[in-house]
Assembly symmetry: C2
Homo-oligomer: 144 residues x 2
């Protein structure tokens, strides 16, 4: 299996190519990738279409349950409050994220969702941090 | 037009009939209901299928944009962190909710999402509070 964060980075690159914010997410179950997605807010006209939400919906569809107890989620950017809370509702076991997001992140910053949620995944931040952060920085630099 | 909170309550009742947590949501644009939905987490195998998320996705589809600037959202229960953050991403103008939720709500309680979000809707809580709370209480009482 491809390193899950490398797979998530590939998803993020796909997003950049179609002018979506370059964030990618991958869900692992039994050491296999069962869902992968990237941000698709603009093209799908869906404010909730963040990479994590789309990956969670796909994994739940695959496993035919809204509860992904045995699953790990990899995402290139620290999740926002919406995604962090969705990760908690889905009972994700471990959350691995790449770049920290002091402005919009809600895991280590701001609303710190898991301080309040019923289910708290194990959290590991800073995986492939440099690569993940660079993708985002390059994207927004080109937008200016 | 039916009172929007009454329409949201009707949605919540539909949810109760199919054994989903009875929460309903309605989105108003130009004084018309453009989206209405109820919780559908179990039946759709989707951890993100809360009433608000489904209504936001439907309204965005209708208006062909992820940004619902001129829209108001009515929901029978104080939104959780996932839904409150989604409401913020969608730039909903006014949020009306029914029952307060000290345990799972994240508007007036817990993570208080709008204290951190870029976009903060105007918030009016306690609309049809008694009716909305009773639906939830009856549902969970029957489950015990």
């Amino acid at each position: 299996m491809l390193n899950p964060m490398v797979a998530a980075l590939k998803q993020a690159e796909k997003a950049a190519h179609i002018e979506e914010v370059p964030v990618g997410a991958v869900i692992i179950y039994n050491q296999k990738i069962i869902a992968q997605a990237h941000n698709l807010v603009c093209q799908s006209h869906d404010p909730t279409a963040h990479a994590e939400i789309l990956a969670l919906r796909e994994a739940s569809k695959q496993l035919k349950t809204p509860y992904l107890d045995g699953c790990d989620l990899y995402v290139t950017l620290e999740p926002c409050a919406m995604c962090a809370a969705a990760i908690s509702w889905a009972r994700i076991k471990r959350l691995y994220f790449g770049a920290y997001d002091p402005k919009g992140g809600a895991v280590e910053h701001n609303a710190k969702i898991f301080d309040y949620s019923f289910h708290k995944p194990e959290v590991i931040g800073g995986i492939y941090e440099k690569e993940c952060a660079e993708l985002i920085a390059t994207f927004f630099k080109a937008k200016r």
